[in-house]
Amino acid sequence: MKLFNFFDLDVSKENQSRFRKIKLLISSLLLIMSFTIIGYRTISLANINKEKVSNIAYKTKDNKSFQKNLRGNIYDRNNKILATTISTLSLNINPQEILNKYQTITKLTKIFPYLKEEDLFKKFNSNKKHINLLREISPIEYVSLLNAGIEGLKIETATKRIYPNNTLASHILGATDIDGKGIAGVEKKFDSQLQGGKDVTLSIHGGIQHITRALLLDQIKKFEAEGGAGIIMNAKNGEIFSVVSLPDYNANNYNLTLNENLFNKATKGIYELGSTLKLITAAIAFESNLINENDVFDVSKPLKVSSRIINDFHPLDYAINIPEVIVHSSNIGSAKIAEKFGSSTQLKYLRSLGLLNMLSLEIPELGKPQVIRDKKVLSTMTISYGHGISITPMHLASATATIVNSGVKVNPTLIRGKVEKKNEVIISKETSIKMKSIMRLVVSNKNGTAKKAEASGYLVGGKTGTAEKINPSGGYYKKKNIVAFTGAFPMNDPQFIITIMIDNPKGQKFSFGYRTAGWVVAPIVKQLVTRVAPILRVKPQLESSPKFSNNLLNFKIRGKKDGATL
């Protein structure tokens, strides 16, 4: 069979025509392919492969100038910077590129007297190709370096996270590591957002945060206490205006700070907060419908349960009702109330108030409550006045907010304008009104334990708590207390929650040796409310105004010697 030969020039006319057609077809195919490639390349250059081209362009132009996004800023609720990232200059060398090492070292030590010659000699004689001499140099030092004209030095641009307010909200802000990655606080929780260059606006109010810290610190010093925590929170939406944990630290020196100072007592530390828990006991009692405000409980004798004897700090020799149990802070009364509604009801409400679980606050440093859940009568009784239940001060603030916010659950948040999806009702409005009325009496009544918290015009209400501090090696310290106050203002329409805790205050001459919450914490509450209320636009009111009397009930509270007058 004869094969068709493309290179055979001696072809017939018929074959020539066929041959041309084939050549034309091949040429057309080649042209189409060329145009397809050209078209694809044109489009890809112009659009599709832009990222790759961009990177090449960046790299070819100036490798050093190519930077990733600056880490986002953290602001307070008034858009004041709490954390930001700035560019700094670092001093580096390649020892192999330094010609006159001795001269260079002499020049460097003149500009940077804190650099030791011996250390520099070691670094200059190293085999490494890149050595960092100083992580950060000031603009003045930079100019001096340029003027000195030292060869072989490499000045590189780096970024640095700074906290201009030093100690302000340091526990909340947290810190970043050397690579700019969040390692604590909001910096860690919002790391991906901040690394992407996006800002975070907190609900913290810089001014209120400072006042809370200053007053708490002052009282801690006065009572030679180990530390403390203070919280001011919006009672309606849970936005935290201030959250202080003392001792604290300068956020710029996170790595140099002792662990003890890094510990966040407000959100991570769990404590038995004593009689402040009686508020919850009273709320459960009203809500269970088993007890009403007129039922009385005999508190004249110590209560013996199993091997334990429950006493009162301010003993009364007559039977008292729930408002009086709270105002006089009777452990016996509280235990008897709890006995009536029982362990299951108690645990149900503790759970729904969020006191059995960790909070969903926007920082990683959160404490998990510890509660005795053996359902024994003794445990139910002791939990009712805050023993056998360890929670964070933030848990207490949250539960207080729920009680005064008409029973609608309040979840604390550190983010401004966060919208709460659920509207979970924990206790009824009626119970909430009763509780608000009683809380006000704790402060305003002459028999109340928080009389020193009365801030004229701001209708403060709340509950004090004094508890023996837990000894980590078992049992309780007999001479170490945790003192606390939780409350709200103004009580006729609570706008803000205030929760204070002080760790191990010592009795002082001016306090007649007392180290109870009424002496230690209540005075801060008064000062704090007086100072922050105008900033928070809470107007002073008269207790006699209809706005007050319409919103609260008037319970009669008997004194120590008024037992027969009920």
Binding site: L31, R41, L45, V53, I56, K80, I86, G457, S545
Partner: protein
């Protein structure tokens, strides 16, 4: 023999080739400009951050408090400074009624 269609295609290819080179050059140039602009933005942002941080440092609540107390002679606001006028009228009425009784 050179045919017109072939020469036309040759010139088209030549034109497309030159255009492609121009486009590539143009895009590279624009990318470099873009990179510079983005770096300038980052640099400006960093400068703004420094200014904001300095402002925040100067407006530190503890510093403002010291200035307000020691230099300006200011003091904390007391409830009597901001009492609602209507409430004051109520107090006066209450007091007057008390005196009459």
């Amino acid at each position: 023999m050179i045919r017109y269609p072939s020469s036309f295609i040759f010139f088209v290819i030549l034109f497309v080739g030159i255009s492609l080179y121009q486009i590539k050059h143009f895009i590279t140039k624009k990318e470099i400009e873009l990179a510079q602009i983005q770096n300038n933005i980052k640099s400006a942002k960093s400068d703004i951050n420094i200014l904001k941080a300095e402002l925040s440092y100067l407006k530190r609540p503890d510093r403002i408090e010291k200035i307000a107390l020691n230099r300006l002679g200011l003091r904390e606001i007391l409830p009597t400074d901001i009492w609602d006028l209507k409430d004051l009228v109520d107090i006066t009425v209450t007091l007057n009624n008390g005196e009459k009784k």
